[in-house]
Subunit: 620 residues, 2 copies
């Protein structure tokens, strides 16, 4: 995103280099493991070959789902960001992928490997599930990334041709339709930013305004599934399919900001507020329905049936990021941080070769083998456990492009000021200073910020997370206690000045609003931006997870680099024939123990296990 | 069901006449409203015409889903039971329906209006979703009902031809397949009972043994969805699609009992026990997944996302009934009673013109208009609110056939003994006595049982429900306090003797096993066999349901024919931006009130409302 308007301006990916630590290590993992892994799978499954076959002009059998093209585009985007940040290992692969893709583009700009050839379904014959415009949107995003990273015009030319085709076909007076899955809006807005061609932004706006007018055929999931029940500017909360809703909101935020449409922007701020207040998990995860991968009603947030699709986490970051840039409010960066640590970082395994598609907050039974198809990939994305690949494999490449571009989320700038949005070690080149952040956050809460080559009169704004009551901020000869949930202002920084932020990293208990019925009588433990969890492998031998409760009044403590809580085991008697009984019939023996918690993003790395984020409190 | 073996023997529907009261009134509603309503809809939507068109031999466009035929069969079955109990108002309709159906039968016995004609998909080309054998099973059940009720051979001849076809096609060495939806097993077992032709029972047994061998193609829902993951005799618990699982279990119980297969019977008893102990709602409802209409994992019983399909309730009654007859254990009749009152009676509206498809235990928002298709019927069965009809309209005719045959569930007999299984007013002709039950149960707990024309030496066994601690049983000159959860024995009843049972009807609180996490810190209220609920229309003006909690230590009391509980309102402050906070941050003002509860089966009859069965206890 290279906002032309708004309060904060982002840095280019090439101006933000992570050096080490939590996110730097993950960027390296992305480069060495995740990207090659994803590229291998989409090659092995012939999703790349779809383009090559399409270019041949001969009939072929399309492999993969309707949106298989988009996975290739997302990996092109990821590798482009890798190049932008100086990693060129996959440059040859990138060129091959782009050549394959571009060879398949039709003379009129259209590009989709599943539609429009004589032996295929016609173009634009399935707006519900066809994902044509969705794939186009990813193509445009990838092309812009590639152009920004390399200056190479090839893919950008393809993007212009494709976008020109869309502008002709879907202009007012043309096809009065929208795609079942929002995404084209984001691509068009980005292409406008890259090319300055206003038609693209206008067409994005047309799609945003057309959504909610009932152009998508009725389906049992209801119109809200595709956000086609209400106009974007009339809605109060996100609803329906979570990824669709969040991509749409992010695209609408682009349009609102870039066109100065304050009504639309304010509608999106309202939707963000209500969605976060009532439809978001402690992890930042969104979407509680398995059936339609959708947001539930307010406060329907069951931990054991949480869906929290990884892509919804990525999309939530995209939406919050745009509102952050537009409004300058720290709460958007807070949610980004929460979601990055607890959804985006949770999906990939430590070795980068397996991924959670859904991110449950409560695993009741150890993973059983999921259903695999003849290609050896998991049929249903909601399957438990991290898996190498999925029939619907949107999540791994989405993680890849997010990690590759993560540097851009750390520091922003505005007139005469620099904002430290995230505490990530790296070097960041702004227009008014070079910022070096040194920290092993979130292991420690100490963040050193060194500012060099400063334009005189520049201020540094440092986000103090909402959970960070008691933060301390030191600059030469001065220490302050900035309030949580806003930016701390360091005025007039001096060239070479070091600023030290110390965030309070004591583990803390959290309860949920009473209306989140599914976790009544339970508490969760958080430490800094990380949600912690109780995983069965950390329990005393023979203790089943579902017999463990927090000791009443227990406070989590940090010891030996881990967080520990006092628990009790409440052994279940043999199953009653009927699991409901009069209230008085309970008097279990309590066996105490102290157990260590796992960081949620690290769970399921030590063999088969069960896990819960929300831990019942004994006696309730 | 007319078991040939087993501990208890059922009465014919014609020997059991309900007279009045809770179930008698519903049988009348079924006759005057539900059956005509269902018949009108399936005529209006051309599901009946499918048969007429098929008979014409000309190409036609099939209307409705793959299982539309079966809805017509279920209504034939329902009207047949109506005739058996002496109601002949729909006899002409019945004849017309049977004539239409039989005219469509192929010369080789095959009968399905969606498959096998030149312009249709081939027979047996879709075992996952085709529902061919499923429809056959309903045909067989309907034919047996019709033959029993009328003695007319027409439909039974059709059933034999169809079953003969099945026995040829699916015998060992023939098509090694099972239907995606169990049901044929029940029909074949019943047809064996009616005709004595052992091939039908053997073929039912073949289907039972073939299930679980992986003959159904893989699907994202996994093999357990169709119970194709494990052989029936190897499973420990019901899993997958709830109606499929329960129909299969009921059919397997038929086979186990009638073939004397004790291993299979014991496997089914084990599955019933574990399913009831870990996967059943307080209402008796089964199935907690919307996505696949399936059982969840153990203790995944969220009230707000309960599915509890009405047909799963009907199927649960069928399964329990077969185990009751086979084993003679009262717990099966207990679950039947709970399920009849709280699932089967909940589905139809008071006027018999609308039905719950899913039976939620927690309605968070007042019903919004569901998605209707061009026929004006509800697209998704899980839609909130009672609806006139559904695209998938299995539930209304299933309720109809259950209510019409309900008389048969009340009294059973064994050698020298009669069992009172349910407390339903009516006259029941057994082989050793005429039993008259007079009661307005469950309004009152008093049940009068009068026994006439008694064969000397006959005993009466009366089920004392598991919840009925403190029941009193009186016969001439004798009063006893029979233990709950078993049959009370009244030996050697005298001709004309009156037995009085007084059941304790004080409302009682129930809590759930700790592992049912979704209702931790909440209690439910039950009275007799009925689950009660808190419905928003009974709250003080302006109180939202989600701000109401049970007063700590409150005990429900009965007053003016209703059950009342003390509650407090805990007003929510304006939404926090984030619904999770440190535990100490709560200190709401409590406003007390006393509110009346609604019987769960009566909820949603007084306009738009919200509702909950499990009520949070204040202070947890």
């Amino acid at each position: 995103v290279a906002f032309r308007t708004g309060t904060f301006r982002p840095l280019a990916v090439s101006d933000a280099r992570l050096t080490e630590g939590f996110w730097g290590d993950r960027q390296d993992l992305n480069d060495t493991a995740i990207i090659p892994h994803a590229a291998e799978w989409m090659t092995k499954l012939d999703w790349v070959r779809n383009f090559e076959d399409a270019a041949s002009g001969l009939p072929y059998s399309h492999r993969g789902r309707e949106f298989a093209d988009s996975e290739v585009y997302k990996i092109i985007e990821a590798i482009s960001w890798e190049i932008a940040r100086g990693r060129t290992d996959h440059a040859d692969l990138l060129d091959r992928l782009i050549s394959s893709v571009l060879a398949a583009q039709e003379p009129d700009g259209y590009l989709h490997t599943l539609f429009g050839r004589a032996w295929q379904r016609p173009r634009y014959s399935d707006f519900q599930w066809g994902h044509e415009l969705y794939c186009f949107g990813h193509f445009l995003q990838a092309a812009v990334a590639h152009h920004r990273a390399t200056g190479d015009e090839r893919m950008l030319r393809g993007a212009r041709a494709l976008a020109d085709h869309v502008c002709v076909m879907f202009a007012p007076g043309g096809l009065d339709r929208v795609c079942g899955h929002a995404e084209i809006e984001l691509g068009l807005a980005e292409l406008w930013r890259e090319t300055g061609d206003r038609r693209y932004l206008d067409q994005a706006s047309v799609f945003i305004e057309r959504r909610g007018t009932g152009t998508i055929p009725l389906h049992e999931f209801g119109r809200a599934f595709w956000q086609d029940d209400l106009k974007v500017r009339d809605a109060d909360v996100l609803r329906g399919h979570a990824v669709r809703a969040l991509y749409l909101a992010a695209g609408a935020a682009d349009v609102a900001a870039e066109t100065g449409d304050d009504e639309l922007r304010s509608a999106l701020e309202r939707q963000w507020r209500q969605t976060v207040a009532r439809r978001t998990y402690l992890t930042g995860g969104m979407g509680s329905h398995h059936m339609d991968e959708a947001f539930g009603e307010d406060f329907v947030l069951p931990p054991d049936r949480s869906y929290c699709e990884t892509c919804a986490g990525v999309a939530s970051v995209m939406f919050s990021w745009r509102l952050l840039l537009a409004t300058g409010e720290a709460k958007y960066a807070d949610l980004i941080e929460r979601t990055l640590f607890n959804v985006v970082a949770t999906s990939p395994s430590n070795d980068g070769h397996a991924f959670f598609y859904a991110n449950t907050l409560h695993q009741r039974v150890t993973h059983s083998l999921p259903s695999l198809n003849e290609d050896g990939v998991v049929i249903r994305g909601g399957a438990a456990g991290r898996q190498a690949w999925f029939e619907v494999s949107c999540c791994p490449p989405n993680v890849a492009r997010t990690l590759a571009s993560l540097g851009a989320y750390v520091v922003t700038e505005s007139d005469h000021a620099i904002q430290i949005q995230q505490f990530v070690a790296g070097v960041f080149q702004t227009s008014s200073a070079t910022v070096r952040i040194s920290t092993d956050y979130p292991r420690s809460g100490t963040v050193e910020i060194e500012v060099d080559a400063v334009t005189p009169g520049t201020a540094v704004h440092i986000r103090i997370p909402a959970w960070a009551d008691g933060a301390r901020l030191r600059r030469t000869g001065d220490e302050t206690a900035p309030p949580a949930g806003d930016y701390a202002l360091v005025a007039d920084v001096q060239d070479g000045e070091r600023i030290t932020l110390v965030l309070p990293m004591q583990p803390r208990l959290s309860r949920a609003d009473d209306r989140v019925d599914a976790v009544r009588g339970s508490l969760a433990v958080e430490r800094g931006p990380e949600v912690l969890a109780l995983e069965s492998v950390d329990l005393p031998e023979g203790w089943p997870l579902d017999e463990v409760a927090l000791a009443s009044g227990a406070a989590p403590v940090e010891r030996d680099g881990s967080v520990w809580v006092d628990v009790v085991r409440l052994p279940q008697t043999d199953d009653a024939d009927w699991p409901y009984a009069r209230p008085e019939t309970t008097a279990a023996t309590r066996v105490p123990a102290s157990v260590s918690l796992v960081r949620y993003h690290d769970w399921a790395e030590r063999g088969p296990s069960t896990m819960r984020v929300w831990i019942p409190v004994s006696g309730t």
